[in-house]
């Protein structure tokens, strides 16, 4: 039963806080553009509003359109629950591995893309076609990045990665109180991998420079085009699912690449609460970074996205090559 505690905690945290990064990113963008911007909690309000609206469904559509939001939401939330929020989870066992994480997200995307094509609209088909291509292009970067992490952690499991990247060595058992945490010196090798995963995050969460979440210009949109036919509670689940997916990917970066936790010394429930809060703070910090990135860059031409994906792949490969050449951790 204890093994379920941390996934449940991670899922609960994501449920509560996942709309926040979106608000934060929008706020950063607005401030950079000298606008006041929408309130931080706008997405919460949007979700509440959407839930109370009658959903409109296209006469052309089938059960796929109505089922997809639930699938997207479920896969995103399960992905969130796989990301360990604190190294305190290690003794109870952290389930899953990094490949599983991406395959679960891919399941959600499969249904999202299908729902874009269900209503027989040209916009939906266009968004779906683009999403299918973009996700295929960034997948090699993500998987090579996992390989690089595995080279360091000696396994693709979350438990081993968490332990190794928190400076606990390959032993996925919680250290005694006061054991050293934070970056191991050799973790600097993972900098290119981190950058690769940032690019993967940008592509997977439909952000500038790959996609523009703020646009509703038909010719440029990808994610928004796919969900054009959704409304009411369907749209609410999709928006929530997108926010959860963003939380999961930000959490992945925070959990693996920012392995700091000043509250590890604090014992008991209070210590756990502090550690979890610190994790949330790290995720929000990363979302600030994404906001700055989004404000500082322009959307790429669609046919330039392959170059960005290639860059991400090369970064991840460089991360692994350092291992293959220098034999770190061998």
């Amino acid at each position: 039963m204890r093994a379920l505690l941390h996934p449940a905690l991670a899922a609960l945290l994501a449920l509560l806080l996942s709309p926040l990064p979106t608000g934060l990113i929008r706020k950063v963008k607005a401030l950079v553009q000298k606008r006041r911007g929408a309130p931080l909690l706008q997405l919460y309000r949007d979700l509440r509003k959407l839930l109370r609206k009658d959903p409109v469904v296209s006469t052309t559509s089938s059960w796929v359109l109505r089922a997809a939001p639930a699938v997207v939401f479920a896969t995103s939330l399960v992905a969130c629950s796989l990301v360990p929020v604190t190294v305190r989870a290690l003794p109870d066992g952290v389930p899953g591995d990094l490949f599983l994480f991406f395959f679960v997200l891919a399941l959600g995307r499969f249904f999202l893309v299908l729902s874009g094509m269900d209503a027989g609209s040209s916009f939906g088909g266009m968004g779906s076609s683009r999403e299918a291509l973009i996700s295929a292009l960034v997948e090699p970067a993500a998987f090579t990045g996992i390989l690089a992490i595995a080279a360091y952690a000696r396994s693709t499991s979350f438990a081993a990665a968490l332990a190794a990247l928190n400076g606990l060595g390959g032993d996925p058992l919680l250290p005694q109180a006061g054991a050293p945490t934070g970056w191991a010196p050799s973790a600097l090798f993972l900098l290119p991998v981190f950058l690769a995963f940032v690019l993967v995050l940008v592509a997977e969460t439909s952000r500038i420079p790959v996609d523009d979440p703020a646009t509703h210009l038909e010719l440029t949109m990808v994610h928004e085009a796919m969900i054009l036919e959704d409304s009411g509670r369907h749209l609410a689940l999709l928006e929530y699912g997108a926010a959860l997916k963003q939380w999961a990917l930000l959490g992945l970066l925070a959990s693996l690449f920012l392995p700091f936790d000043p509250f590890l010394g604090v014992a008991g429930a209070a210590g756990l609460a502090l550690s979890v809060a610190f994790f949330a703070a790290k995720v929000l910090l990363l979302s600030l970074l994404v906001g700055v990135l989004e404000a500082a860059t322009v959307k790429l031409r669609f046919f330039s996205v392959p170059n960005l994906a290639a860059l991400a792949f090369v970064l991840a490969l460089v991360g692994f090559l350092q291992y293959a050449v220098t034999g770190i951790g061998r």
Binding site: F99, L107, G120, A136, L147
Partner: protein
């Protein structure tokens, strides 16, 4: 357990297939009865085959027992010829896949082929199909090289007749001819390899085979011949040209058999010959297989994605999947040669697992395409659409198959792709640096091909089954008959079961990878035998403990969350009725079927990004006086099959030129010349006879 052992069940199975063929011919005066009888007997034979392979696989009391000798379980010997038929773990796994697939395909064939009764010689077709299955069962169980070769060639020739079933279509005949030529080529290569082996060892028995007796040069030649021979059968790039033509040309049930299990004979052959019999002695064997696998994965999936013909899409995707399987086998061979049995076992297990999975989901998908064709008489995605409403049951099954082949949880395709990735990671972490880099590229290739496969099946399902019907035939399609849905459902359910409980297959197959435990790599099982031939190098370290996979909790969580979300949303939002309205199209009113995103459009961006592979051309023809308001617009786009253009076309042209010249030189038309040939041949024959006798 069981009142008969696996041996008798095996012979019962073969006899029932033979009886199906005989009965079909005997009843040929009443084609409907003959058809039904043949299919029912085939199903019975398949059920006996399932019983035989399961009894064999379950015979060991516990998986931790000592490994069996590789060719221990002699099922029987054909009298007079001394041709042995043998079951071992490897044979039994493939026999199981064959039997389950045949069970489904025969059930499917009952309604699928019924419209042909009376119009075509259905009894002969049924008889040939039953014999084809019989030949494949013998390929998987032959313990004698001659029997293997005979079964192999019989399989090729029988399938040729099945491919050209609709022989009035020119395309079909052309595809069949190409298939036959390639099959003969592959058979010839295999024959050459087997004769080389015989000349060195003096034995045709697979049991007595000892690769140590082969001189190195012969061994190299044998390996190259075998890789080429099995490469032709597997449709590995660049030997794949026949596959995307022959598979779509064949009727749906035959395509399912060919893609589902006939291609796997090449997987079986590679493992049996290179790994088991020859003992994976040199690392380059595996590297060669791995490189061919990676090339096939990328080229296959790229062509699958841009293909608009549903069955051709499936056929190209088979090339991709064979590429993934070859990647696993290649890693297994290399790791075995480098003395890392742990990595080798994991990689070989992954390959066999994926082959096993692929038999079911690809079989199901081809049957699905057959059912669509049965209902609409169309295979072009650009003419379909909206089937999710007209054929709801089939749509759900096709979606299940698509999820499985896109390697998405919770289906078996995900479990085997995950295992393959783990094997590659294990190899990359344990191997020497050069191998590590190659395997890192392999991981990236697997990621790319996996995501592109998903894109291809998104296209197949999204364009073919969703949206509005693009033609009246699609609009008026009726649901597939129950037998068809049952058959496809059986295969999709098998795929789902393999995904939910991959550990069961691991234990059953005796390939023992423990999926649930954190780092466990149980390798103590039957496969260790295959590595005892390999010399141990210091090249590879033992692999680190890898991740575990237990898909059930993940699936349970997914289902629970989805259900909870739907309920919670209704509770929070209150009772909100769903309103139905036409699709948004910028306020112009309801868009029609032609305004949907087309099949070509869906993969267009990919075609442009990968234009170096396709060299696409496009042409836009506008008719009418006004540039901006033409009366009609015609848009055509083409892409080049690079391998055909730059490898096969020059080769064919060269052969034509050569034979033209040879003909001109030899066939002069002069009677004296011909008489001289006869005399020369006679003298040469006599000389050879004298010399051979003297020697």
């Amino acid at each position: 357990m069981g009142f008969l052992g696996y041996g008798p069940w095996f012979w019962i199975s073969l006899s029932l297939y033979a009886a199906a063929a005989v009965l079909a011919l005997a009843l040929s005066a009443r084609p409907r009865a003959a058809h039904l009888a043949a299919q029912v007997l085939s199903m019975a034979g398949a059920a006996a085959g399932v019983a035989s392979s399961l009894l064999f696989l379950l015979r060991a009391p516990s998986p931790s027992s000592l490994p069996e000798p590789p060719l221990a379980a002699l099922v029987g010997t054909v009298p007079l010829l001394g041709l042995t038929v043998v079951l071992d773990s490897l044979s039994a796994v493939f026999l199981l896949a064959l039997s389950v697939l045949v069970l489904a395909v025969s059930l499917f064939s009952v309604p699928y082929l019924a419209p042909y009764a009376g119009k075509r010689n259905l009894p002969v077709f049924d008889a040939l199909a039953a014999l084809f299955v019989l030949a494949m069962a013998l390929v998987f169980t032959a313990g004698h090289l001659v029997l293997f070769l005979v079964a192999w060639e019989a399989m090729a020739f029988l399938s040729y007749f099945l491919v050209v079933f609709e022989s009035e279509k020119e395309d079909t005949v052309a595809a069949g001819t190409l298939y036959l030529v390639m099959a003969i080529l592959g058979g010839a290569l295999l024959l050459a390899a087997i004769l080389l082996v015989f000349s060195a060892t003096g034995s045709f028995s697979m049991r007595d085979f000892d690769a140590a007796h082969l001189p190195p040069a012969t061994r190299t030649a044998v390996v190259l011949l075998l890789v080429a021979a099995f490469g032709v059968k597997a449709g590995v790039v660049p030997l794949h040209v026949w596959l995307p033509r022959a598979h779509p040309a064949a009727p749906g049930n035959v395509s399912a058999l060919m893609s589902g299990i006939m291609l796997k004979t090449a997987v079986y052959g590679l493992l049996r010959f290179l790994l088991h019999m020859m003992g994976a002695q040199e690392a380059w064997w595996g590297i060669l297989v791995l490189a061919l696998g990676l090339l096939s994965a990328v080229v296959g999936v790229a062509h699958a994605f841009v293909e608009n013909d549903l069955k051709r899409l499936l056929a190209y995707s088979s090339i991709e999947n064979m590429g993934l399987i070859w990647t696993g086998i290649g890693l297994g061979l290399t790791a075995s040669a480098l003395g890392s049995p742990a990595v080798a076992a994991l990689a070989v297990f992954a390959a066999v697992f994926h082959a096993f999975n692929h038999a079911f989901f690809k079989g199901g998908l081809f049957l699905g395409a057959g059912a669509v064709h049965h209902a609409t008489h169309m295979r072009d995605l650009g003419s379909l659409g909206g089937l999710v409403r007209t054929m709801p049951g089939l749509s759900v099954l096709f979606l299940g198959g698509s999820l499985a082949i896109s390697a998405l949880p919770p289906f078996g395709g995900f479990a085997s792709e995950w295992t393959t990735l783990q094997a590659l990671v294990a190899g990359a972490l344990a191997g020497p640096p050069a191998l590590s880099v190659l395997l890192a590229v392999a991981v990236a290739v697997l990621a790319l091909s996996g995501a592109l496969a998903a894109a291809a099946y998104l296209k197949a399902f999204g364009v073919g089954f969703l949206g509005k019907p693009r033609t009246p035939a699609a609009a008026h399609a009726t649901e597939a008959p129950l037998a068809m849905r049952l058959a496809i459902g059986l295969l999709v359910a098998a795929s789902l079961a393999l995904g939910l409980a991959p550990g069961v297959f691991a234990r059953l197959s005796g390939l023992g990878t423990d999926f649930s435990a954190r780092g466990a790599l149980g390798l103590q099982l039957g496969w260790d035998v295959y590595f005892e031939y390999s010399p141990t190098h210091e090249g590879m370290a033992p692999p680190p403990p890898l991740a575990g996979l237990d898909p059930l909790p993940v699936l349970a969580a997914l289902a629970a969350v989805a259900l909870a979300a739907v309920l919670a949303v209704r509770v929070i939002g209150g009772k909100r009725p769903v309103r139905r309205y036409s699709t948004w199209d910028c306020g112009y009113g309801e868009p029609d079927a032609r305004m949907q995103f087309s099949a070509s459009g869906f993969s267009k961006a990919f075609l442009i990004v990968f234009r170096f592979l396709f060299r696409p051309t496009r042409e836009l023809k506008a008719e009418g006086e006004h540039v901006y308001h033409p009366e009609s617009l015609a848009y055509t786009t083409t892409h080049e099959p690079l391998v055909e253009k730059y490898l096969y076309d020059p080769l064919v042209a060269f052969v034509h030129r050569l034979s033209d010249r040879a003909r001109q030189a030899v066939q002069t038309g002069s009677l004296r010349g011909y008489l001289a040939y006869v005399l020369g041949a006679l003298v040469a024959g006599l000389l050879y006879f004298l010399l051979a006798k003297g020697g």
